[in-house]
Structures are given as C-alpha cells and as structure tokens.
Amino acid sequence: MRIRALVVRIIRQFIRDKRTLALLLLAPLLILSLTKLVFDGRTVSPEIGITGSAAVLAAKLEEQNANVTVFDSIEAADQALKSGKLDAVIQFKDGKPDITLEGSDPSASRSTQLVMQKALQSNVQELAPTVHYLYGGPDMASFDSFGPVLIGFFSFFFVFLLAGVSFLRERTSGTLERLLATPIRRSEIVLGYLAGFGIFTLIQATLIAWFSVQVLGMSMSGNIVNMLLINLLLSLTALTLGTLLSSFASSEFQIIQFIPIIIVPQAFFSGLFNLDAMNPVLQKLSYIMPLYYGADAMRGIMIRGEGIPDIQLDIYVLAGLSILFALLNIAALKKQRRM
C-alpha cells in the first residue's frame, strides 16, 4: 500500500522530468552507437613507403591491403614518415629488408608489422596453418568483444548516478524527514525505491539489449532473456548501492565524487582491459566489484552463448549484493529515524 504510493510517485516524477528520463534511456544508446562507430572492426590499411630495390615488395604488400608509395630517395621517404603520411618505410640494406616504423601508436605499429611480415613470408604460403575458432570468428570486431561489458557498464553507471541523486534529494529537500514522520517503515521506503526505479531500469535494460543486438548488430550467440536478467540484476545492484552511498553524501557534487572511487575502478576490472599483465594479487580485487560479475555473465551469454547453468554464480553474487546493499540501506536510514 505505502510501497505502491512511493512507486506511483516515482513514476510521476520520472515522467515530469524528461531530461532525466532521456539520460536513463537514451544516453546509453548514444554512447554505445558512438563506440560502435569508433571500433566497428574495419581493417585499417597501413601506409607504407618503399625506396630503391625494395620496390619489388610493392605488389606483395598491396596484396595484404597496404597502401604503398614508392619514393626516389630514402630522405624523401623519411620526410613523409616524419610528417605523419606514412606508417612505415622499407628499404634494402645489404640485401636485407630494413624497416622504420612511425611508432607513436603501438596498435598501428603492430598491424603494420603484421602486414609486412605476411608480405615478406608469402612465398611460403603452402605451410600456412588452417585456423578454427571455438567462439566468435574471423569477422568478430573488438566492439563485439567489449560491447557486452559496455552494456553492463552503462546500465550500472546511469542507474547508480540517478538513484544516488534522487535519494539524496529526498534527504536535502526535507521530504525524507516528512516521509519518516509518517507511519511508513524504513524497509517500505527502500522497497518502494527498488520497485519504482526497478520499473525504469527494466525498461532501460530491455531497450539497451534490443538496441545493441538488433540495431548495432552486436554478436549475440545466447538467449536475450538471460541477457536481460543479468542487465536487470546489475541495475538493481547499482540502484541499491547508489541509494546506500547517498546516505554518505551531503550534496549532488559529493555523489559525483563517488564516480572515480566506485565507478571508474570497476570499469578497469570488468574485463574492458586485459588484466593478465597485472599483479595476480591485485587482479583478485575484481572479485569485490559487481560489474566484474555482470560483465563476465554478459560476455558469456553474448559471445560464448552460455546458459543459466554457466552464469549462475554471477546471478547469485549480483542478487546477493543487491540484497546486502538494500539491508544496509534500511539500517543506514536509522541515522534519520531510530524506529
């Protein structure tokens, strides 16, 4: 009854506040689209300059998708490399190929090197191995690989921010005090918030899942229902964590201060970046981060087509964290009213 009153109020507030609604529903779609545009997996053609007798390589390099320019002198080639027009210069020194890479972007250097290696070895093609993929495939772009993580991240980030600010406002505007002067239970407040915001996070989760699979064409090998479930659980964790932490903030600005402490480290540990090079003890930090479990399950579902049995640990952890944060929040409200 009282929970229903809270839910109705939250829905009404959301509908009045069009900008906040847009932040929750449209901002994740916009950012996912931008990321897709940046990492859409199109192969990049390296610009390679060649001089002198190295010109014989031109055809082979072009076979590997490189744009080749032939220079008359090494000085002219070096000049072009310096001005940023080239990724690499090849010449022959003492009968051996001699390569100078531009070198300021490691990923560009790597792909240039790969192209040149392939071109130089292409006369031994009969020994090239046959390659099979267990998951994904040769067409999988990097966006397909970290897209699932991004979906989880945006659901988490926006819900955390919104829930935190709304609950804080309830406190600073005095409405929480008035709410607590009515016979409502502290648990009813927390449950009302969960249910009211839950409705919008469910809409958000559905929208993001539909958009990334159907519109952005993100690779999707699993069941979209599982994907929704994980996204919803992740949002609930963000919701309960956001409202809980808002008890420890005294202004909207202080909620923003939680972003570098709570949100950004999670982005690093969620699998967006490969952590294999990190100290193994520090790697374990990811086990306390909700986003790690959400991202793990999302990747499992979308890339490896995993079902509920494979991701059940992630489900339990996310559900458990939500319950824990909600209970802590009920306890934290004691600071406002003892009973």
Partner: protein, 248 residues
C-alpha cells in the same frame, strides 16, 4: 472513562539531548493537555526544532521520557496520531499540489473517496483549491507553506506538530490560519507550534519560552508578562532571559 483518554497529549519528562559535547536541550519537563494550543517561543538555534524532532520520534533523547497520549516515543504506530509540518516545505517540486497531497495521504492509509474528500477540505482550508493542478515549482513561497500545512491536516490527526507554520504567509492568510487552528483546538485537536514571531505567541493558550536549550518560562502569555512585570511577550522574553543569565 478509559485511563489513556485523560493522559495528556504530550508529556515530556526531564529530557536531555546532546550533539557531541554540546547540550542542545537541558532537562526540559512539561505537558500539553488535550485540546490546548501550545506555543514554543525562542530564537533560532535555541533547540526548538530538536525538541519537535524528539516529540515526533524522528530523533531520540539521550535522557528522559517523551510520551504521546500516554504511549512512550519513539513508536512507529504513534506516527499515525499526529500531523507534522517541518520548517522546510518538504514538497516534491515536479509534482502538482494534488499529487503531493495524494502521496502523503496514502502514506497515512487514506484511499479513494476518503482521500479525495480530505484533499478537498484540507486545500479549501488554506485556499489552495484553484492551484492544485499546477506543479509545485510554479508556486510562490506562501503557497508552498499552505500546501505543506494542508498535507499535515490530511488525515485529521488528534495532534498537530507545526514547526514555524506561518513563515512567508501574508497577514490576511496568517489570520485565517490562526482562526482555523483555534477551531481545531475547540474540536479537541492538540496543537504544538514553534514560532519566533512574538505577536503570534500571544495567541497561544500556553507558552514555553526556550533559550539556549533551557525552558525559562512556562505559563499563559498573560501570566508570563505579569511575572516579568512587562506588557509584551517580547519584553518578557528579554527580561526573563536576562534573569536566567544573572542566576548562572
């Protein structure tokens, strides 16, 4: 007659409240019988709002006892017995006046027709009927105050706890509100009100003068003025406050 029926609406016994090592309320004792309009007068920072929070059970005293209608506070079910209006308007700015009332009304268990008719009469009391469908962020300061008061009256409480209710309300409406408060007390509603407006204080049945967390006088406005040998509450407040300082 049922014994609880004759218990005073509010009974406060030797309460002490500290924030850190600062004593905000120091050994305060008084009782408010049913149907009385009791005023709390004191400068800002004197501990009025803290006392209100102890009465409503939002906060708990470090020592002493607070009882409402014979029931010890804080107690969840007793929150249904009083209407509360805080110093801040505590309204949802995006929502209309009506939606604000409906929300708080349902927290007190009002639904359907009962809720609608209570909303009508509470809004009529503060002359807000014409503005109920406008969002609160278009209201003037006085209108917000009136809406806040209407919300406190929604569930027909036996006790009204009003923290500075007439701040920002024009004199005509302020008079109307005071008349209405008097009508309510005649119906047996107990009202406890805080104010720092001296002429409002004179309209109360009884007054408690509070200063630096201590109760410096507790009587009818007339008796307080006589005791201090002056003709206005303002002078009485100054005289009695000075008296306390000399004793200390």
């Amino acid at each position: 007659m049922d014994e609880t029926a004759v218990r005073p609406a509010i009974s406060i016994t030797q309460i002490v409240k500290r924030f850190g090592n600062r004593t905000v309320l120091d050994d305060i004792t008084f009782a408010v019988p049913r149907g009385e309009l009791f005023g709390f007068l004191g400068p800002s920072g004197s501990g009025k709002t803290t006392l209100i929070k102890l009465i409503t059970g939002i906060d708990q005293a470090d020592a002493g006892k607070v009882e409402l209608f014979g029931q010890p506070m804080p107690q969840l079910k007793m929150l249904q017995t009083f209407g509360y209006m805080a110093q801040s308007d505590a309204l949802y700015q995006e929502l209309t006046g009506k939606e604000n009332m409906a929300f708080y009304g349902s927290l007190y268990g009002l639904t359907g027709k009962a809720l609608a008719s209570r909303m009508q009469s509470a809004a009529a009391l503060v002359s807000l009927n014409d503005h109920l469908n406008k969002p609160v962020n278009t209201y003037s300061g006085g209108m917000k105050r009136r809406l806040s008061l209407a919300i406190a009256l929604l569930h027909k409480p036996q006790l009204l706890v009003l923290d500075e209710p007439t701040v920002g309300i024009d004199p005509v409406l302020r008079k109307a509100i005071w008349n209405e408060l008097n009508v309510l007390t005649q119906k047996g509603v107990t009202i406890i009100i805080t104010t720092h407006v001296m002429d409002e204080a004179e309209k109360c049945d009884r007054l408690g003068l509070i200063r630096d967390g201590k109760l410096i006088a507790l009587d009818t406005p007339q008796a307080i003025m006589e005791q201090a040998g002056v003709h206005t509450i303002e002078e009485a407040f100054i005289a009695l406050g000075r008296g306390k300082e000399e004793q200390a």
